[in-house]
């Protein structure tokens, strides 16, 4: 404590040094004046009195120096001066050795960014917003099988617990669902994450509404008027921030609801919700035990979670009448609410430390490399170190200087890492926010967290210690003074075999992974659909939505569904007709899923007459099954390779005609004519087999159906649309994005209940797909990591050659003096670098073969976008050799400039 207080005091003095000095001056002057006054009082003449006073007090500057010494300011000033010099030197070194700065800095930046990213990511997942402190949720354990049964419990149990539990207050329940049919006046029908929630939850969240009122218990009573509470986002984006929104009626799920209030900006509880309707906690209004609901509540003040758990297990679950196997023992328990939603509720507190330690160890790999480069540089500066040592610099002082040089590099790398982590986390955050996944909590925001910055600083010191101190200890060992002797000759340090092995390994790894990395980067990082040969700049896609609120009665439900489908079909036909009449529209087509997005309907197929491979060559046998409009293939210019296109007869309900793509034929049917063969979807053994379908045509592959980064890569079965296919694609003459509002208007004009969701250009839809975004991030990471590896290898070769030239300075001098031709000298310098490179490249080529084939075997569905021929491997090898040799040009030229007389003088 005393130490820190002293340190603070010193820092205070340092930062207010001028003030400190002027105060001391004032104080001494006051003292001197008082002393003079006393002397005058005692009868001395004024002049003599002043001289006597000055003599008693002593000289100001020596008193001041004494004060500075006593308060430790001097020591700090000296220390700061030395550090300042070291930092200055460190920055100068960065500029003087750009190769090391670039290669070392990039490698360290990548390592630090990984640590920073992981720590910040984990911080975000472990974050518990203030409103959710002490909030717990129910989880049911299946003791018989020893597994987690799930979250929440039947509504019946919720009602009982709400009445009986003492240790949890404001016990609430909710069911999340995606509201697909909030269609607003402008024809927008984008889905809204919604929650049916008990009004008590708003008491727990302690947040007043921005407008109107919250949900209240009366709203949940039987026969109450349907009401809804909306979020700020919905109010802003769907209702144009209408100030008269409260009291307005909207149709939700086919029922008119009155909006009673708007929540303030940022409120998205319980998870990531934008619209709330009351949940009637009355089990009698549901069949059986009622639906399973998520249950949460706040611990009563002073109650521990253990006590609440004990009380909950004492009350227990009721015997279930439906949904759960009654032979199994189920026990409810409580877990933290916030972390349950990020799936880290079971995470031990030590996980963060384990992750941090792991990342630090990971950083050790690039740091060890950079340390060797540092060592080589230090070796070249051996004479400078020896001079400093001879002039009285202690070993500790020299080590400190080298440490600070490394610290400067690490700090520069840390700034780059910070920027890299911030951009990547920002992208991730923006992507997650744009997806608005209902199950992913809104309170989790990815960014560099303040604790992670402390960790970053720790990593910087750690990296600097590894990079700077270890080589410094070795370089300042017993051979320091031999540096002086060898001034102008070869250095006293040695680079062991270990280093040569390491450099050769690095070159080998670079050669081995470069083709793969280039392939991944190329295939996932490609920017647009134009690469697929698709003209997509003029296509707009969307999904049709219409209010759907089926009655509970099974018979009435079937009737309702029939009517619903018929109605949607009529409306979609009408929409198509009106769109085709628009002057800006070239053509319109429908598909089961909006083209461009990830296909949703996957099936496994078998062919008639023989067991065909389920585990196909490119994946696990899952194929995309879509229903498309008759003009779908024309719309996208997909060529028919065999058979016939769909005709109007194929739209009949009894039609079994399907068209398959080439990938399907290759994977499921093998060679031979596919037209006329029959296939069917594989159903589980306990279900009725699916009807046989007859292949009437084969089309070329639709590139948008290719999924990157997942196993189920390709193969499509097309059926003719029979009633409804909610995916719509419109080819327009004008800029497609500009047409989107007009598209919605037309839909709204067809029927106020008809809306359009996810209106995007085809390219936007494709680029914002999860697999594309993840692919791009993956590609970027691979690119940066590989680039850093390549740089490290080149820097290694450079350092190795440079070191060899320093070592052989005398030998080169003698050979030059004896008349050796510069070509021969150059050859002898290059031959060693070339040998290391050649060995590394050869090993790399050998290693790359199993790596690429293993990659193919595990098959992430990544199609290597670069030729995987031996020619490409040779190109990579030549590239690495060329840059390696280029890396050794500098030191070689230095070798040629060795003056024979200078080199021999050292003898």
């Amino acid at each position: 404590m005393q130490f820190f207080r002293g340190l603070l005091e010193r820092l205070r003095i340092l930062f207010r040094r001028n003030r400190f000095e002027s105060d001391l001056d004032d104080e001494l002057r006051f003292h001197l004046d008082e002393l003079t006054r006393r002397n005058v009082k005692r009868g001395m003449p004024a002049e003599e009195a002043a001289i006597a006073a000055r003599r008693s007090l002593g000289r100001d500057d020596s008193t001041k120096a004494d004060v500075r010494r006593q308060t430790g300011v001097n020591a700090i000033l000296n220390w700061l001066d030395a550090w300042g010099l070291d930092f200055k030197l460190g920055f100068r070194m960065l500029v003087k050795y750009p190769g090391l700065t670039l290669a070392g800095g990039l490698a360290m930046a990548v390592g630090i960014a990984i640590g920073l990213g992981f720590t910040s990511g984990l911080d975000a997942l472990l974050y518990r917003p203030p409103l959710l402190q002490d909030v717990v949720t129910v989880r049911v354990w299946n003791l018989t099988r020893g597994v987690r049964e799930g979250y929440g419990a039947p509504l019946r149990d919720f009602v009982r617990w709400r009445d009986e539990l003492q240790s949890v207050q404001d016990l609430s329940a909710f069911i999340q669902f995606e509201q697909h049919d909030l269609v607003t006046d402008d024809g927008r029908g984008d889905p809204v994450n919604s929650a049916q929630i008990t009004p008590s939850a708003f008491h727990l969240f302690r947040t007043p509404p921005l407008m109107g009122r919250l949900l209240v218990e009366e709203d949940a009573l039987a026969g109450a008027r349907p009401v809804a509470l909306i979020s700020h986002t919905v109010w802003r984006t769907r209702f144009g921030s209408d100030p008269e929104i409260v009291g307005r009626d909207v149709r939700l799920g086919g029922t008119v609801h009155t909006i009673v209030g708007v929540m303030p900006e940022g409120f998205a509880y319980p998870v990531n919700d934008r619209l709330w309707t009351p949940l009637r906690a009355d089990p009698l209004s549901f069949e059986g035990d009622g639906p399973w609901v998520e249950i949460f509540g706040r611990l009563t003040p002073g109650t521990s979670v253990e006590r609440a758990r004990a009380e909950l297990s004492a009350v227990g679950l009721l015997e279930h009448t439906s949904g759960v196997n009654t032979d199994e023992v189920l026990v409810p328990s409580l877990v933290d609410y916030a972390t349950r939603h990020t799936n880290v509720e079971d995470t031990p507190p030590s996980l963060m430390h384990v992750v941090q330690l792991f990342c630090a160890l990971l950083l050790l790999v690039p740091c060890a490399n950079v340390a060797i480069l540092f060592y080589a540089r230090t070796a070249r500066r051996q004479s400078e170190i020896a001079v400093r040592s001879a002039l009285g610099a202690s070993r500790r002082r020299i080590i400190m200087q080298l440490f600070i040089e490394a610290l400067v590099l690490a700090l520069v790398a840390a700034v780059a890492a910070f920027v890299l982590a911030r951009i990547s986390l920002g992208q991730l955050d923006a992507f997650l926010a744009s997806r608005g996944d209902a199950e992913f909590p809104a309170w989790v925001r990815f960014g560099v967290s303040p604790p992670a910055v402390w960790y970053l600083l720790g990593l910087v010191v750690f990296a600097a210690a590894v990079v700077g101190v270890v080589p410094a200890i070795q370089a300042t060992g017993r051979s320091v003074h031999s540096g002086l002797r060898n001034e102008g000759g070869s250095g006293g340090l040695q680079l062991g075999k270990l280093w040569t092995v390491l450099i050769v390994t690095q070159v080998a790894v670079t050669v081995a992974v470069l083709p793969l990395a280039a392939g991944v980067v190329w295939s996932t990082g490609r920017s647009g659909l134009a690469d697929h040969g698709l003209a997509t700049d003029d296509v707009l896609t969307a999904r049709l939505v219409m209010g759907y609120d089926p009655p509970a009665n099974p018979e009435a439900r079937a009737d309702y569904q029939g009517q619903y489908r018929a109605r949607l079909q009529t409306l979609s036909n009408e929409l198509k007709r009106r769109l085709e009449a628009e002057p800006d529209v070239l053509s319109v087509t429908y598909a089961g899923d909006p083209p461009g997005g990830i296909p949703g309907n996957w099936q496994r197929f078998e062919a008639e007459g023989g067991l065909l491979p389920l585990e196909s060559a490119t994946g696990s046998g899952w194929k995309f099954y879509d229903f498309v409009d008759l003009n779908f293939f024309d719309f996208f210019d997909l060529r028919l390779l065999a058979g016939r296109p769909f005709g109007p007869d194929d739209k009949a309900p009894e039609s079994t005609a399907v068209i398959v793509d080439r990938a399907f034929v290759r994977d499921v049917l093998g060679e031979g004519n596919a037209v006329g063969r029959r296939i069917r979807a594989i159903r589980p053994a306990d279900q009725e087999p699916a009807p046989w379908l007859e292949i009437v045509g084969v089309v070329e592959d639709f590139p948008l159906h290719e999924i990157t980064l997942v196993a189920e890569a390709s193969g499509t079965v097309y059926g003719a649309v029979q009633d409804i296919s909610p995916g719509i694609a419109v080819r327009v003459r004008s800029v497609p994005a500009a047409f989107s509002n007009r598209l919605r208007e037309i839909a709204a004009a067809v029927d106020p209940n008809l809306g359009l969701a996810d209106v995007k250009t085809l390219n936007e839809a494709y680029q914002s797909r999860l697999d594309r975004v993840m692919g791009r991030m993956f590609a970027w990471s691979i690119a940066v990591a590989t680039l850093s590896l390549l740089f490290l290898s080149i820097a290694g070769i450079y350092a190795l050659t440079s070191f060899a030239v320093t070592q052989r300075r005398r030998e080169i001098g003698i050979r030059a003096a004896l008349g050796a031709h510069p070509h021969r000298l150059l050859g002898s310098i290059f031959s060693r670098a070339a040998m290391h490179l050649g060995l590394g490249v050869a090993l790399g080529i050998v290693a790359s073969v199993p790596i690429v084939s293993y990659w193919r075997k595990i098959d992430f569905g990544i199609v290597l976008g670069v030729p995987d021929t031996p020619g490409f491997l040779v190109a990579v090898a030549v590239l690495v050799m060329a840059v390696g040799i280029a890396g050794s040009v500098g030191p070689a030229r230095r070798g040629l400039r060795v003056e024979p007389t200078e080199a021999l003088k050292a003898e």
């Binding site: 001391l24 006051f30 004494d66 006593q70």
Partner: protein, 113 residues
Amino acid sequence: MPDQADLLPGTLDLLILKSVSLGAVHGYGVLLRIEQISDGALEIQQGALYPALYRLEHNGLIESEWGTSDNNRRAKFYRLTRAGRRQLGDREASWQRLVEAMTSVLTATPQQV
């Protein structure tokens, strides 16, 4: 004026602490107060006074504040901190023990041996 006594090493801090403990006082006042109480027997090397004051302040035994002196000038006043009071107590006790021990040694008679 009585004969002046030399200060024992380490006693300057004790004298300053004691002087400051009698009430907030500026540097010159510390000097005067010691001279006055000791009736001029103890005279402090003035050059040593300020380094000692700053050291004691740096160690948290005294604290300072700018104020106005009797003749209406700006002066820095020192006051004892809680840690300083504790330190003063300890040092006084230890000084008393030393004085008693010295006195008993110096007043010893052959019979006591």
